[in-house]
């Protein structure tokens, strides 16, 4: 199962319907809802945290949190 942590530079995904309610509410309020898109913008040195565009909200989150968000990767980009 792919999660936000699996995204590569510039890749996008659509958040899946989640049954697990482990996600912090704050993340949902910032736009982490089923059907919304996530794009990976940057990865910090040492691979963590990651910088994403979560349906318009630009956020940095840690990998441990990103692993909880399941998605379908929709766009294969030529990774730079």
């Amino acid at each position: 199962m792919a999660t936000v942590a699996d995204l590569r530079y510039g890749q996008k995904g659509i958040i899946k319907d989640f049954t697990e309610h482990t996600l912090p509410i704050k993340l949902m309020e910032l736009g982490c809802l089923p059907g919304n898109s996530v794009e990976l913008l940057q990865i910090a040195p040492l691979n963590d945290p990651i910088y994403i565009n979560l349906s318009g909200s630009h956020l940095a989150i840690r990998r441990s949190l990103a692993e909880l968000i399941e998605l379908d990767i929709i766009e294969e980009t030529q990774a730079k």
Partner: protein
């Protein structure tokens, strides 16, 4: 109408809420703390049309009413308590035009509390650049509210906000979402149990486990089966609520808000590529750091010298003008010196906050947090601890004030506790004079030993901060609910007004907050240093005069006079004075100098027999194993007020006429211990430096820690632990090196 309208400004972080606040209130604002906690409370007065006044409260930024931090729970607490004197007659929700969807989530929650709510859409000047078009009228209808399009940068729209506030009675307070839609079964049951209560408010009280007012909490205790039924169940309902709200908002925005992505231009992507780059990102950060250091160490030196001079002059003037006596002494040496000791920090604090607020306003600070987070994590810290820790290398006071941006209480506490280990600028004069005294000249790989020592001391300080953070992370058992998540706002040019206000505000809060304590302790120290109980102290003047009559001035005083005369001769050499005139003026100078030397010797004798001097002697057995004598002991003791006092105290004890480093250094170098060897040698020098590196010798920092943690517990732990640790390390160092 005499009653002011109570207005609460509410909004997400980074929406320019503070700019709106500044434009509404101008300088008529007051920054304080909420009682009992250290969340900043900003309020101000705004004049509205038709002679009405509004009391504006700028609430902490929050994404929603589901709280995760102290600041956020405060917002909910206020909005649920109708009896609070700040309870708003009207709420103004500030949102930014780009993230309208997310901002509306908070808006609908506020509106559901049945408070008349105005929507301010800020940063309207960005609309065309971002390809955004808005149908304000339609949106007003759909949201059942009034909207003001504002640009704080272009200063447009604020008048409309004022008018809407003045006219708040016509604003609808009808809720948006019917809570029973979240779960009909659950809410029906709630309604049956609490028929008197408002369902949505009840729901908030149940789901938010923050410290609500005792009454509210008690009333709801009967509802425990509603809250503890199942935490998971509740969370599921909260998710449901969020989804419902977003559905509602999406429907509204579909018809009223359009973004033409083709027209959108953004600097963000390209700037982020450079500023968060794996190599350039760090390089740029490093250069910015260097600039900040340069400002704090170098540029602030000029105003600091100026302040120092002014206070010395004021003190001198008081002594010469007022009749001699206890009161004059208290004023000149206690109070004026004490205030001077506070004011001297202002340039550094102002500079640091100037930079911090520039970095924050521009959006760069979030990028630093992003870059540094992973590096700080092994130490129990997060990216947000970086700025305080680095600022600590200038001064721990503004650094500890800067920890307020860390939401996670455990991380914030650890950062506060370890910051004083970093090498603040007050340690610098102590290091410089000791290094010059005990570290031999010479170089290693082109770097002088002295410079290397200084660098090493900085590294030891920073390393110790990280190590103790790691230890504290293991020891402290504090549960923190908040998750690391930081918004990366768009880059923007900082608004001058906001920057200036921040600098003024922070400086004021330091002067008023820590200032009182510093002043009090300075007065106590002055008292202890200028009073004694023994006959020796009482008769200091006659004893010293008698001694000088018998044995002449001490060798140091003689040197002092000689050196000054010599430099005077040198300075007038070019003028080719007539020998007789030169002779006369030298004579006058010598008289003046010896008068001062006698006064200094009396002062020195007095200090030796004052309470502090006696304490120093009593203290000697304790500091002896570290290689210090009672005089250094006094200097160390008085340094607990502030480290930089070290040099000044030694100057007084050695009765050197000036604070000039060179003079004091020579005097220190000449000091011998009992066996006739130099008192300041490699062993005692290094032991002293290490002591200063680790000991918590700064009452201003203690005062600020007390204020930020709201208890004496943490500053006392800091004082105790750091000082004992410093003692042990200094002891080991001296015993090995001797």
């Amino acid at each position: 109408m005499s009653k002011n309208i109570n207005v609460a400004l509410i909004g997400n972080p980074n929406t320019g809420k503070t700019s709106v606040f500044n434009q509404l209130t101008g300088l008529k604002q007051k920054v304080g703390n909420y009682p009992g906690i250290t969340v900043e409370k900003k309020e101000g007065i705004c004049k509205l049309p038709r002679g009405v006044k509004a009391h504006i409260l700028d609430l902490p930024g929050t994404y929603s009413l589901n709280t995760t931090s102290l600041d956020e729970s405060l917002v909910v607490e206020l909005l649920l308590n109708k009896n609070d004197k700040d309870y708003p007659d009207v709420a103004v929700v500030i949102s930014d035009v780009e993230n309208l969807k997310r901002n509306l989530l908070l808006f609908t929650q506020i509106k559901d509390l049945k408070i008349p709510t105005i929507l301010v859409i800020n940063m309207a000047d960005r609309m065309s650049r971002k390809g955004i078009s808005l149908d304000v009228e339609a949106m007003e209808k759909k949201l059942d509210t009034k909207i003001a399009l504002v640009s704080t940068r272009k200063r447009t729209g604020i008048e409309r906000v004022k008018e809407l506030i003045a006219d708040y009675k016509s604003i609808s307070s009808k809720p948006v979402l019917d809570p029973t839609r979240i779960s009909p079964e659950y809410f029906d049951r709630l309604k049956k149990t609490f028929p008197q209560e408002d369902l949505y408010k009840l729901w908030l009280v149940i789901t938010q486990d923050v410290n609500f007012m005792p009454i509210e909490k008690k009333r709801i205790q009967d509802a425990t089966d509603f809250s503890t039924k199942s935490k998971d169940e509740l969370k599921k309902l909260q998710h449901k609520e969020t989804v419902l709200r977003y559905q509602l908002i999406n429907n509204i925005l579909k018809e009223t808000y359009k973004v033409d992505f083709m027209a959108a231009k953004g600097l963000r992507a390209s700037m982020d590529k450079i500023l968060t780059h794996k190599v350039f990102g760090y390089l740029i950060f490093f250069v910015i750091l260097l600039t900040i250091f340069q400002a704090i160490f170098d540029w602030s030196g000029y105003p600091m010298d100026f302040i120092d001079e002014q206070f010395a002059m004021a003190s001198e003037w008081v002594k010469n003008t007022l009749p001699a006596g206890l009161f004059t002494d208290l004023l000149a040496e206690g109070i004026i010196a004490g205030i001077g000791g506070i004011v001297i920090f202002i340039p550094q604090i102002a500079f640091l906050f100037l930079f911090i607020s520039l970095l924050e306003e521009s959006g760069y600070m979030s990028r630093v947090v992003f870059l540094m987070d992973r590096l700080m994590r092994p130490f129990g810290l997060s990216g947000k601890s970086v700025v305080p820790l680095i600022s600590g290398n200038a001064c721990a006071i503004p650094a500890i004030m800067a920890t307020r941006t860390i939401e996670n209480w455990k991380e914030r506490l650890i950062t506060i506790l370890v910051t004083p280990f970093t090498t603040c600028s007050a340690r610098l004069p102590v290091y410089l004079i000791l290094i010059a005294l005990v570290i031999p000249e010479g170089s290693f790989l082109g770097l002088s030993y002295q410079a290397l020592t200084l660098m090493l001391l900085y590294m030891i300080g920073f390393g110790m901060a990280l190590l103790s953070a790691m230890a504290l992370n293991k020891i402290l058992k504090i549960k923190s609910r908040s998750v690391f998540m930081i918004e990366m706002p768009t880059y923007r040019l900082p608004l001058l007004k906001n920057v200036v206000y921040t600098v003024i505000e922070k400086t004021k809060s330091f002067v008023l907050g820590a200032g009182k304590i510093i002043l009090a302790i300075s007065i106590v120290l002055w008292f202890l240093g200028s009073n004694g109980y023994s006959d020796d102290f009482e008769n200091a003047e006659s004893i010293v005069t008698e001694r000088i009559e018998k044995q002449g001035l001490s060798i140091y005083s003689k040197n002092y006079i000689q050196n000054n005369v010599a430099s005077y001769r040198e300075s007038v050499e070019a003028e080719d004075l007539e020998p007789s005139i030169l002779k006369d003026s030298v004579q006058v100078l010598t008289e003046q100098l010896s008068e001062r030397a006698v006064a200094q010797e009396i002062a020195s004798y007095k200090l030796e027999h004052s309470y502090i001097g006696q304490a120093g002697k009593a203290f000697e057995p304790i500091v002896k194993p570290l290689g210090y004598d009672w005089k250094i002991g006094i200097a160390v003791l008085t340094s607990f007020a502030a480290r930089e006092v070290f040099v000044g105290t030694l100057a007084t004890i050695y009765s050197v006429g000036s604070d000039e480093e060179e003079t004091i250094k020579n005097r220190m170098a000449a000091e011998l211990d009992e066996s006739g060897k130099p008192l300041f040698n490699l062993a005692s020098g290094i032991s002293l430096m290490l002591f200063y590196a680790f000991a918590m010798q700064c009452m201003s920092t203690l005062a600020i820690v007390k204020r930020e943690t709201n208890s004496w517990k943490w500053p006392m732990i800091q004082l105790g632990f750091m000082s004992v640790f410093a003692y042990i390390i200094a002891l080991i160092a001296y015993q090995i090196l001797i």
